[in-house]
Structure formats: C-alpha cells, structure tokens
Amino acid sequence: MGMMQNILSLLIWLPVFGGIAVLLMGDAGDSTSSKAGNMRWLALVISLATFVLSLVLYGSFDTTTAAMQFVEKTSWIGALNVEYYLGVDGISAPLILLTTFITPLVIIAGWETIKVRPAQYFAAFLILEGLMIGVFSALDGVLFYVLWEAMLVPMFLIIGIWGGERRVYATLKFFLYTFLGSVLMLVAFIYLYNKTGSFNFFAFMEVPLTLKEQQLIFIAFLLAFAVKVPMWPVHTWLPDAHVEAPTGGSVVLAAIMLKMGGYGFIRLSLPMVPDGSEYFAGLMIALSLIAVVYIGFVALMQTDMKKLIAYSSIAHMGFVTLGFFLLWSVSSGSGAELGITGGMVQMISHGLVSGAMFLCVGVLYDRVHSREIGDYGGVANTMPTFAAFMVLFAMANAGLPGTSGFVGEFMVIIASFKANFWFAFFAASTLILGAAYTLWMVKRVIYGEVTNQHVAKLTDLHRREFIVLGVLAIAVLLVGLWPAPLVDMMSVTVRELVVQISQSKLTGI
C-alpha cells in the first residue's frame, strides 16, 4: 500500500513534527498544569505511534535479501546533485527499532521528574528521535551529514538545560568534540563527491580509489566515528556528558547515539574504503582491545555510578569495533560474519542494558540526589523490586548467559579466537572485568546492611518506573534467550557485506 512506500519518511517526520507540536502546545510555564499534562500525553502518544510504525516496518521486512528496502529517492538539492535518499537493510532496521523502543521509555521516565520547561524537554527528545531514525536510514552523504550534525543540537540543549552541576562544561565538550570529528567526515564526503559527481552512498562504494586516498578517507571517517563510539583515546567527553546529563539524556546518549559510531563504521568505512580498513584493521583491533581492558580497569575504580556505567559503555563498545574489524585476521569465512553479527547484536544489547542501568541509577538519584556509591548500601532491604531489576541488568551488563549481553560477546569472542588466540584472550577478559566492576557496584549499593539514613527512607518503585524497567527486562531476556529473530534480520545483509568488503577497490598501481 502507499504508506509502506513512504514508511521511512513517516518514521522520521512523525516524531519531528510531533515534537514541534508538543513544543507549540507548551506547558503554560507550570509543569503541574493540565496543559502540561496534556502535552505529556501527546508526547507519549507520538512516541508510541512511532514505535508501532517501526513494528509495521519490522513486520514487512524481508529477511531474505540484502538489498535496500522501503527505498525513497527524490532529488533534494539539484544544484549539488544531493538526493533525499532513504532505505534500510538488515543493519539499519534493528537500530531503528531500538530507537523507537527506547524513546517512549525515556518519555515515561521523565514524566514527573522534569519540572522546568517540560514541553521543551519532550519536544527535544521527539525531534532527536526523528533525526536519529533519519541517520540510520539515510543513503545520501549530505542527508546523512545534515541529520548526523543536527542530532547534536537537541542533545546539546538537553544536557545543558536539564543536566547536573557541571552541565555547561560537559555539553560544550560534547558538542565541540563530536563536531570536530564529524567535519572531517564532511571533507571526505565532498572529496568523494568531486570524484563521483553525486553524494550517493552506493556511488561512493563503487568508485575505485587508490590506497593513499583510501587511507586518508578512512582516517577522516575514523575521526568522526571514533569520537562517537567512543574509542580510546578520544573518549573523554563521554564520562562528563553522561554524568551531567539528565537520566533521559544519558539513556538516549548511551543506547542510541553511541551506536551511530558503530553504524558509521559498518555502513561507510568498511564498504567504501575496504583497503584502507584492511590497512588500519590492526590499529582498530588494538584500540578496541585497549578500550575493553584498560577502560574496564578504569571502570573498576569509579565511585560515581553514572561514571562507572559510562566507562562500562566504552568497554562494551570496544567489543563492537573489535567484531567489525576482525574480517582480515580470520582465516575461515564464517568467522568474519560472526564477528560483524556479534558486533551488531552487542550494539542492540548494549543499547537495552545500558539504557536500563542508567534508568536504574536515575531511579535512585530521584530519591536520594546522589550518584556516589558510598551514599548507598543495603538498598535491597527497602526497595526489593528495584533491587531485583538492578541485579538482572547488572548481570546482563556482565554478560551472563540468558541475557542479551552474552549473545554478542560470545559471538565476538569466538570470532576473535578464530583470528588470533591473544585477541580472544584480551577480549574475554571483559567477562571478568565486566563482572567485576558491575557486580562490585551492585554489591556495594544493593546488598549489605542499611547504614545510610537516606536508604532507610527509600520507597520502592512507582508504577511508572516499574513499567519502564519491566519492559526493558523483558526485552533483555527476550534477546538473550531467543536472539534468532534479531540475527535473522541481519544475517543476509552481513553476508553480502563481508563479500563486498573482501573485494579490493584499488585502482591499480
């Protein structure tokens, strides 16, 4: 039917215009007014409608083909040969689903806790959602770049307006760091445009390039994506941004925006500059393993819960980049697919788990207004339901089989084992480190005696918080126990991708 053809545009513009509508509706300056209440319901309805639309997308998704689906292509800026070109395949579709799944949860989580200008808060998240879906479906360089950078604006405002004490420093650092990384990607796009005559991603993928060109373009892309992922050593913006952001902001940042970096590697770097990627694969693997091991140790030393989870995010994303760049080190063919699939699954799982963990910390913060581990202890005594959820998510973060965290990590470790024993050795250390820092935090916060008077006065989960955490728990267990639908969505696309990457694009000597 006609709507199916334009479902991607709908998915992008429904939240954007919905966000504008929420903004215009306003909250009459008072977060407790009935107008504000109506505004919240409108925001929730729009985000749920977007989620339902994405389910429709999933339902009609053909898992047997690697070609782009739901393609929309019209001329946008004729003078520059820029097109409004959308399409999804097995790599982007799960990420879109993740985005539309997380946003309603974030809106519910911010229902009562945001008291200052809530209309702008919800509008920012809705517009951000639309832009993020756009990034995942864009197939034209300028369109991709416009949405990529435009994403920074709502997040900049979210951290800056509703964040913590050092929010201005954190949000400026976030914006300028990611902006600097991304502009070099723009230069690479323009260079490729001058070579191919259009900004079409597929034209970029097909044009032959010398090794020197590929290396430079890879570096340009690397800077943009490494900052986004974030990879060591350009990761320093993340702990600040996560700590200072409001709960909803941290969730969206961790669950979705970090995935943009990984998506960039797999959509742009690998297919467009395969020889450049091969040249730098060793570097990428090294940086990923440093992230996994070194950042794991850094996480162990944290006393601020949000900072700990932020470092844990960096370590988990190290797994993702490791999986993506194993292709050339693996002797047998299936290893490469396993690595990339593992990285993708890890992205989805990490989105769910870290989102959940930040929500848990948010629940505690709303009550006690502290993120320090030392201010807690024995929470299980006063908040047993919450404790159950937190332990579940902590186990998922550590990679317990049965939870979603295990599936991705297991795939990547097997793939790295096929490549090199030492890769697998260091990668597997995450199983120990991840368990160490997560479970140690949980032990200090949740278990033990109640020594702190704040903890003694804690009330257990509200219905709203219960719904949010419950839904996430179901998702985590679902992906962990039955990952087949997720893996099926991407398997054909990944296989085609591996074939494509293996073909060299060099123009000759």
Binding site: A79, L80, Q120, V146, A150, I161, L176, F179, N194
Partner: protein
C-alpha cells in the same frame, strides 16, 4: 525617490516621522519592482559602457534593497525609543543604497569608485548619527580616517591600472591584459593597492582594525545596516574588479586573496572567542565569514564564485537577524550589547531565544540551517580546485568558531534570567524578525532554488 523623501521629510514633524519610514519602504518596493520589471535578458551596457546590468547585478541589487528594507524596519522602533528617529537616518540609508547599487552595476573603475564613496560617506555619517554618544563619534572618526586612507589607496591603484592599460572600463582592461602588453609588475602593483582597498571594505585581515570598533561604537540599527547590505556591494566590488577586469591575472591575485582569506579566517574566529560585547563578537565573526567568502572567490572557478554569492546572500540574512535580536533586547537608554544581556532569554521569551538559536547555529554552519549549505558549497569549491589543506583549515576554523556561537546559546538557555523587562518592539517588527529566523531554517532545508539562482547568475554573467 531619495529626493522625494528628502523634501517630504522637511515638512513632517517629529511625531509623524514614521511617515518618512513608510515612504522609504515604499521607495524600496518601487525600486525592487523596477529592477524586476526592467530586467534585460542579456548583459546590457549603458552610460557609454560605464554601467552594466546583468544577472549578477540583478540579484545583488534586489538583495540589497531587501536587506536595507529589513534594516529600516528593525531600526524604526529602536530609533523612536531612543529619540533618534530623524528623517536623516532614512535619507542616509537610501543614499547608501544608491551607492551600493552603483557599485554593483559598475563597469568602469571610476563608476565603481563613485559608488564606493557614496556608500562610504553615507556610512560615516550614519555611524556618527547619535550626537550624544562619544563611542559613536570615536568609531565614526576611526572609520572616516581609515576609510579615507583606504579609498586613497584604491584610487592610487586605479591610477596605475589606468596608466598601464589605458582604459577605465573593465572590458577594455580585460582586453588589454589579454593582449599581453599590459601584464607586468606595474599592473600587479596597481592591483595590489586596489585589493587593499577592497579588503578594507570587506573587513579582511590585515585591513580589519576598523571593523570591531565601528560595530561596537555605532548604534545597533546602524551596525545592522553596516553589517548586512554593504557586504553585498563589497562582493560586487571584488568580483567586478578581479574577475570582470583582471580575470586573466587570476594566478597573480590568487595568492594575495588566499593570504587575506586565511588570516581573516584564523584571526576572526580566534579573537571572537575573547569578546564579551556581542556586537564586537559579531564583528570578528564577520571577519571570519569574509575569510570564507574570499576563499571561495580565490578558487577562480564558476563554482567558487557561485558559492561566494550564495554565502554572502545567506550571511547577510543571518547577520540582519542577529543584530535584529540585539535591537529587540535594547530599549531606551540600554543597549543590549553585552553577551550577559542574553542570559536567560529562554525563560523570558522562548520563541525569540529559538530565533537567536537559529541565527547562531546558522552562522556556525551547523545543519540543518542555511549556514551549513553555504559552507558546504565553499568547501566543495575549494576542494574541487585542488586545495585539500585549505578545505581542512576551513572546517577546523568552523569548529573553533562554533564555540562563541554556542556561548550565546549557553547564556540564553542554560543560565537564569537577570533582566526581565519586556521587549519594546511592535508586533510588525517581531513578525519580520520571526520570518527572518524561519527563513534561515527553511533556506537550510530547501536551499535548491537559491543555489540554482546563484549558479545561473554566475554562469550568465561569465
């Protein structure tokens, strides 16, 4: 029309000064209509070859009329509150516009100089418009003295070029250069002096020292006027002289322009970070933007010229909006010229805070606002001409520049409001300012038509 307004103003008393305003707007509308109605298909030379009408001149003149009109509109309420609403403001503004139109359509060095001086003298007088302000008088003196020196240098350059090529008209100069007999050190010498004069008008480093002081010293509506429309005329000045007249000397002036551009880009962006006065900050940001425009022209390609044209047009819209916001926040006796005056604007007026956000992100080059498309074009032209290092410099400079634009947004959104007074602007001014802001967003999302117009204009002109 200017004479009509001048005479009419004599008979209008102070209370009805707004009639002068409406007369000025009417004259602008008539001029605009006349431009469109009489647009010739091909390049037409009039006045014995000293005046040309082509696609480039059409666009720039229309844009200049529009921006002057917007400037007048924003100025009206501010001037009224500050007891500055004199007819002379509109007269000087219209004379300045006349100067700009002459510059834009000039086909001879002397005509160009005539237009340049008409514009400059009007601007000197406008800067000094507020008789009670010492800062304005100081700024006017600086502008006048430095401007006179720059005009002198420009005239000196003209005399050398005339001496070498034997003609003042661009066509004849181009023919002489092509002939080969004129090419040599004397011609380059004259050209260098002319470029110095042009750079002064633009505000390019190292001829920029007047710019921050004049921007800060003049009253806000006058700064708006200086910041917007004359940039269009300066672009015409640059293109006419360097491309129309001396196009074949491209390799010679390329190096000069590149040095000016790179210095402007770096110094403009870096020094702007240190500013606490927003008018001064916008002045240094103007220098940085001029760096971008000069880099686009330096490429010497049609793509580059079209990119420069698009950039100038969109920059002028954004600058008008930014200064319009400063005017909006000002009231009698209080000039909202410090960055701190923007604190908490989101709490005072979320709509106008968002408009300022549009202008700031637009100037920073963040998508989806139109500043990004302008920068994209310029970078593309530079990269295509084979200068990847310069392209990287341009993007890095943009990121450095982003900081001071972000700072304004930081003050508006992340800080509490210290000043809770009501805006003193009428509804029509607010509407136009809002349309200005929305234009920056909409042009960013739908830039195709304007881009096509610019490319077409350059193609038809060259």
């Amino acid at each position: 029309m200017i004479c009509v307004v001048l005479i009419a103003d004599l008979f209008i008393s102070d209370e009805n000064r707004v009639v002068t305003f409406w007369l000025s707007i009417a004259s602008l509308l008539i001029t605009g209509w006349a431009l469109v109605a009489s647009a010739p298909e091909a390049r037409t030379l009039v006045f014995d070859g000293s005046y040309v009408s082509d696609a480039l001149s059409q666009i720039l003149k229309l844009a200049a009329c529009g921006m002057v009109g917007v400037g007048f509109w924003y100025a009206r309420d501010y001037l009224r509150q500050n007891q500055l609403l004199k007819g002379e403001f509109y007269l000087l503004g219209l004379f300045g516009l006349l100067g700009m139109m002459i510059m834009i359509s000039a086909n001879s060095l002397l005509t160009m100089y005539l237009g340049l001086e008409t514009l400059s003298l009007s601007l000197y007088a406008l800067v000094a418009f507020d008789r009670n302000s010492a800062v304005a008088a100081e700024a006017a003196m600086k502008y006048f003295v430095l401007g006179a020196i720059a005009s002198g240098a420009f005239l000196y350059g003209i005399s050398w070029v005339y001496g070498v090529t034997g003609s003042l008209q661009f066509d004849a100069i181009a023919a002489a250069v092509q002939g080969g007999e004129a090419n040599g050190m004397p011609l380059w010498f004259g050209m260098a002096f002319m470029i110095a004069g042009i750079a002064f008008k633009f505000g390019a480093v190292p001829f920029h020292s007047w710019l921050p002081d004049v921007y800060q010293g003049a009253r806000s509506p006058i700064t708006l006027y200086i910041a917007s429309a004359p940039k269009l005329a300066a672009l015409a000045l640059l293109l006419r002289i360097l491309v129309d007249g001396l196009g074949d000397l491209h390799e010679v002036w390329q190096g000069m322009i590149m040095v000016l551009a790179v210095l402007s880009l770096l110094i403009g962006n870096i020094v702007a970070i240190a500013q606490t006065n927003i008018k001064r900050m916008l002045g240094y940001s103007a220098i940085a933007h001029v760096g971008f425009i000069l880099l686009a022209v330096f490429t010497g390609t049609d793509d580059g010229y079209a990119a420069a044209l698009f950039y100038t047009l969109t920059y002028v819209v954004m600058a008008a909006g930014a200064f319009g916001m400063i005017i909006l926040l000002s009231r009698n006796g209080f000039e909202a010229e410090n960055l701190a005056d923007f604190k908490g604007l989101n709490a005072r007026s979320p709509w106008f805070a968002m408009m300022m956000l549009f202008f700031m992100f637009g100037m920073a080059g963040v998508p989806p606002w139109v500043g990004f498309i302008a920068k994209l074009n310029a970078i593309s032209a530079v990269l295509d001409a084979g200068f990847p290092g310069l392209a990287i410099l341009m993007v890095v400079a943009s990121v450095i520049g982003a900081y001071y634009y972000l700072r304004v947004i930081w003050y508006m959104y992340f800080e509490g409001a210290e000043d809770r007074s009501v805006f003193q602007a009428n509804i029509d001014t607010r509407v136009i300012l809002s349309l200005n802001g929305l234009a920056v967003l909409i042009l960013g999302i739908m830039p195709g038509w304007l881009l096509a117009v610019c490319i077409d204009a350059i193609a038809r002109t060259y």
